[in-house]
Symmetry: C4
Amino acid sequence: MIEKVVINVGGQTFVTKRSTLQRYPDTKLANISETCEHFDITTEVYYFDRNPLIFQSVLDYYRTGKLHFLSNICVEQIRDELQFWEISTIDLGPCCWKYFYTVDSDLKTCNVIDKHFFQKQCFLYSSKSSLTNVKSKILNVLENPRSSTFALAWQLFYLSVVCLAIIVSVIQSFELTRGNMKEIRNVTSEEDVKERLTDHDNWIGVVTHVCNVIFTLETSLRLATCPSKFDFFRSFLNIVDIMSVFGYFAHIIVGAFPDSSEFFFIFSYALVILRGFRFFRLERFIEGLRIMLLSIKQSKKMLFLLILILLISSIIFGITMHILEMDGDFTDPTSSFYWAIITMTTIGYGDVYPKTKCGQILASVCATFGLFLLSMPIAVVANTFTDLYKRYCEHQCHLLHQKKHTLYNNDRTELIPIKY
Amino acid sequence: MIEKVVINVGGQTFVTKRSTLQRYPDTKLANISETCEHFDITTEVYYFDRNPLIFQSVLDYYRTGKLHFLSNICVEQIRDELQFWEISTIDLGPCCWKYFYTVDSDLKTCNVIDKHFFQKQCFLYSSKSSLTNVKSKILNVLENPRSSTFALAWQLFYLSVVCLAIIVSVIQSFELTRGNMKEIRNVTSEEDVKERLTDHDNWIGVVTHVCNVIFTLETSLRLATCPSKFDFFRSFLNIVDIMSVFGYFAHIIVGAFPDSSEFFFIFSYALVILRGFRFFRLERFIEGLRIMLLSIKQSKKMLFLLILILLISSIIFGITMHILEMDGDFTDPTSSFYWAIITMTTIGYGDVYPKTKCGQILASVCATFGLFLLSMPIAVVANTFTDLYKRYCEHQCHLLHQKKHTLYNNDRTELIPIKY
Amino acid sequence: MIEKVVINVGGQTFVTKRSTLQRYPDTKLANISETCEHFDITTEVYYFDRNPLIFQSVLDYYRTGKLHFLSNICVEQIRDELQFWEISTIDLGPCCWKYFYTVDSDLKTCNVIDKHFFQKQCFLYSSKSSLTNVKSKILNVLENPRSSTFALAWQLFYLSVVCLAIIVSVIQSFELTRGNMKEIRNVTSEEDVKERLTDHDNWIGVVTHVCNVIFTLETSLRLATCPSKFDFFRSFLNIVDIMSVFGYFAHIIVGAFPDSSEFFFIFSYALVILRGFRFFRLERFIEGLRIMLLSIKQSKKMLFLLILILLISSIIFGITMHILEMDGDFTDPTSSFYWAIITMTTIGYGDVYPKTKCGQILASVCATFGLFLLSMPIAVVANTFTDLYKRYCEHQCHLLHQKKHTLYNNDRTELIPIKY
Amino acid sequence: MIEKVVINVGGQTFVTKRSTLQRYPDTKLANISETCEHFDITTEVYYFDRNPLIFQSVLDYYRTGKLHFLSNICVEQIRDELQFWEISTIDLGPCCWKYFYTVDSDLKTCNVIDKHFFQKQCFLYSSKSSLTNVKSKILNVLENPRSSTFALAWQLFYLSVVCLAIIVSVIQSFELTRGNMKEIRNVTSEEDVKERLTDHDNWIGVVTHVCNVIFTLETSLRLATCPSKFDFFRSFLNIVDIMSVFGYFAHIIVGAFPDSSEFFFIFSYALVILRGFRFFRLERFIEGLRIMLLSIKQSKKMLFLLILILLISSIIFGITMHILEMDGDFTDPTSSFYWAIITMTTIGYGDVYPKTKCGQILASVCATFGLFLLSMPIAVVANTFTDLYKRYCEHQCHLLHQKKHTLYNNDRTELIPIKY
């Protein structure tokens, strides 16, 4: 006679054969016997205080060798139950991968958002000496606008300085250019140029110097107080800051030498570009911008693919066009590559364009393929951002609920892990 | 011996230990005892007349400390049940946030649509005097085309006047320009210009004046009868109306002075632009347009992000291009910024374009980054509109079902809260 | 004592109070009594042979007054059950509208696809006379390539004729133009022009005439045999066909008059355009094209919205630009409108572009708003097509399954309603 | 009296009438009797060890004639159960097609990905002779970078050679062009041209020759060792390789003849294009690129539709524009077609543009329809890629889980079918 096994899981009774359960010998159910703690001698039933819906799927696995789950049950809960039943997910059917691993990537996104948006306030050192205490306080003021009112005030001040520096830079560029740049570079003596460029003893020069002193102080303080120098130099914006500071001093030093007007000139503009990048510091206040920077980081692969596909297509279409229209605008292979990229991104300046019938047909093909190919990575990037943004909104929504609840039940505050 | 507790929820029996239930002391289940109303002494079972599927999740929370729900159950129902069991959602796992808060935002969207599309007909004053009664009637005619046949007729008439005024304005502009605008402004005396501009005693002048009288009356009536002046001035379209009216009178007054032809000229055109905005009044009839205006309002953050990212990128790319191609089209920093924006939005007029190899490479990079960066906020905006549109269709669908049902069962009309 | 009611639905037992059931007096449960057919006197239980999962939701409605359903149950099944329980959906919570009405629109799409793709083969007349029989046969050959092998052959032949006619037209246009069109029109006498235009006694002329005879015959036959003249004239492609036929005869007649070369010329080209529209007849073979035409029909509202928003924006941006840059390319209001549309659709020919700083800023704003506004209706259109395409694939997939099954079980053929 | 049938499925009891079960006579339930193995004589119950949730739907099918399933159950599992109950899916309601056939297409995608990404390492011949063994080893080195460390090294070397060859080609093109191409072709004697073109005894010539020898060897080895010549020639990239090799030898042979400079010149460039296609070999390392190529293959229909719609629209809009603006840029029908395509793809070079009012209106219409029509197939293509990419990520995720598990439980390695 076949030995039947009666199992009660969370109130629901399941009947199966012992041979079925022994199909996977390393699992919990294969090793249950009448001496284990789950066996109730009076009713001859194995009792488990687990979720019966998930156990149904587990039992189906023993019977059919195929692992499927109900898609309305939370995957995290399924994982916990599987761990209890000592079953691995390696036999999970491809039909269930979709909902099973989507949750994984959702949770990963959640963690990323939690790390970047909601856990930044605790810059703490392990040793609690007075020095590290001061360091930690300074760091919080410099890095985290939400830590205190003073930190917020400082951040607002710092960002105003950034904006001021950029505006001043742009005005300076205007002035440089308006002062007949070409004339300066070609006609007048080099001394005159430098005079003109350094002749900012007016308010613009003063503002620039003050801003740069503030930047230098802020950057050195942050570098001095950061807990891990390695993490500091891994951040793109920190490198921009440090380059700005060095660039500023290099600018002054170069300006002191007599014969360096051309060099000096390039330096001046390079500093303006670096200051432009500083605008990204706004991410400390504008969540949208921070989510964007985050999704750029997460879409690195797609950006790389976009550039790669543009490169390959531009070589193929560019060279073909070069052959077809050698007498026209496409005398130069680089112009042809440039034309292909400008066409595929649907910009079409019109400085380079085909004139023969064959060239026009190729341009049409290039345009069609451009639309077709570029839509692919762009769609993934757009999805990534939309997803991150939604997850961020949900996170914020959850914290708001938590906060409300905390204000209501003050006695349960110790349960909340993240203080907002 | 461990004290077991048997709980019957909606017909299904659950067995657990009392110690488990006391894990969360502030909840209903922690405080049940044999004296409470749910205890049946004969069977020694606690009976609750609630949903058993949700109770399964609640019990799992007591056992594992993790709160998960079945994603096929309506979140609103889960909230009601949780309130009954006195459990908060602060311990809800991140894996369940997605479906839990999606419903929240869906409901919010539903409310927004309900407010903007289906609840507008009840402009009622609290005090029921004869004056407010008249006011309410006028307001309904002016604001809500669905309130009565007369209101609909009025709205159609009003919109025809708007269209007429715009067409007339455009014709007027044509005439002004066709009359050799440049010649007028440079050669002839200022008196002649004004003569020409005010010489609309022909039909165009008459139509313009009649239209403006109608606009003035309509706007003043609406302003007089609106229940809250504050809400009136918060609406963008109302401000456009008021500015149009004032602009019209200012136009007449300015025209009366002898030496103001240039000023008068600008005024004339500014009025045409204001009239263009009046086209948005069509939203009273065209649901698509109203949904669009609504989703613009809801996507303010994304619009801001789009502008910000364009600004930052244009500064970085613009200045870099300015350095690389100073001898070409990029002598001016503003042209460079303008070029960067026109390139990143993939328009590419071709009035400003790079000529050196370096410049062409930078243009390609700028184009690629433009596609990459702008796709992100645009995707969110597109999603918002698609979502609002779908929700609107569902809402309409539901009202249609309701209406059908009401016509069928006349005796149940009192149950329907919104009359369509 | 409260009267308890025990209800067994599909094997599962539910207990509730009679007062609860009487909350909605017009429903089936409110009127059950011990004399009705569902009452089992021996066990004192009301037995219903229905789905218990849905009954759980129904019972919750009686208890809480709120109607929610499990989202994993098919809405069609819920509707059937609700009809049995005599409950209307007017109290359905907004949280459930989403999945409830999505299925409605899905089914509507399914029906549309079924009507357009899979039910076309049965052109049958109610009266079965020999004349209508012949008519029906001709119609099937002319309209439905799938009805028989001869019909397929005819369709392939017809489409080759269409393509041939278009190619010939294009060649003709080339010839007309290559023959120094301008020269003809200005220098030579009108007689010479006509000679040139009608001098197609060569192969091109012959092919054109043969093609047109075939078109005329086909169109008249279809018009003669179609069951409803009203439906015939409602189809856009049929009107194109009829206009083509009339155009062809008009062309011949006009050509017979001596002094009509200019008129004749316009006619020639108008016919080429009409022939271009005939290309859409390819939809009889290419499913993708038919789905596209169908989704254009379904997206009429969005196309209208797209045009409306382009019009309004072009008026606002166009006039503003007209004021800012009157001395530049924007002397004309129409050019300004045209510029605004070409900018907002991100084409940017570069024939009209801003030259002042203000104009460049406005162009940037216009570009940004163009991207922002146009993405909205475009996203809905893209969704509609994607949806229709997916539904079509599923439909085809289902029919394939059905077909396989029919070949296997020949004895069950009578169950299949649509023969593919 | 009606014969009732009690059925116990996986622990849950269902009661129904025998007449209901005999509705579909070919199914398992119609033919159960008291003598079959599932009947338990003591309890008079038919016992089936199957999933009860799915049986509920099966029973509903017998009762109502409509087949619906719970959407949270995996479709694969439903199929298995239906096979057991001998029920076909031909009566499945359209409301359930969506989730039923979505899984089908998901599984198909899964198989495609599995075939292209995770099953490539086992190039095995059926006969295990020493020759085929060597062949198999060579093939693995040449085709599969993941098979061994040596294979990876070879692939990296091979791709460097590809990149080097392309860079050298581009430099060569530069040189050719920089050397005043036009001058060469028109002024100097043909001998001089050839001298110039073949005068690569410098490093460029050497590199080119070495690269080509490597390509020739690699391609011949792959051709010699591939198991199926037919599959080899079906791959686009293999044909590119073979054409490159033949092109190279043809190039050398042509260069040997004295009077073939023009021909020789075209050959040189054609080879550069073929080398450009070789860049796609990068797909062996860059998964994104391979997914892209795969989704291009899967979107063939949409690419065809995109081209078709562009062709039809360009004929209609092009000819119309040709009529409207015959005196402007549109003298030629081909220019008009080209203009229409360049406008609809939103490129807008600006070399051809409308000058009259009518032409500008038509251009606006063309732009609007371009946005409207092209968004449709592009959206489907973007979806296909996003889907494939997501499925790929899930697949990789699953393999990672599997791998982890394998490292942990070494004794269960035999269960894993795909070694990563």
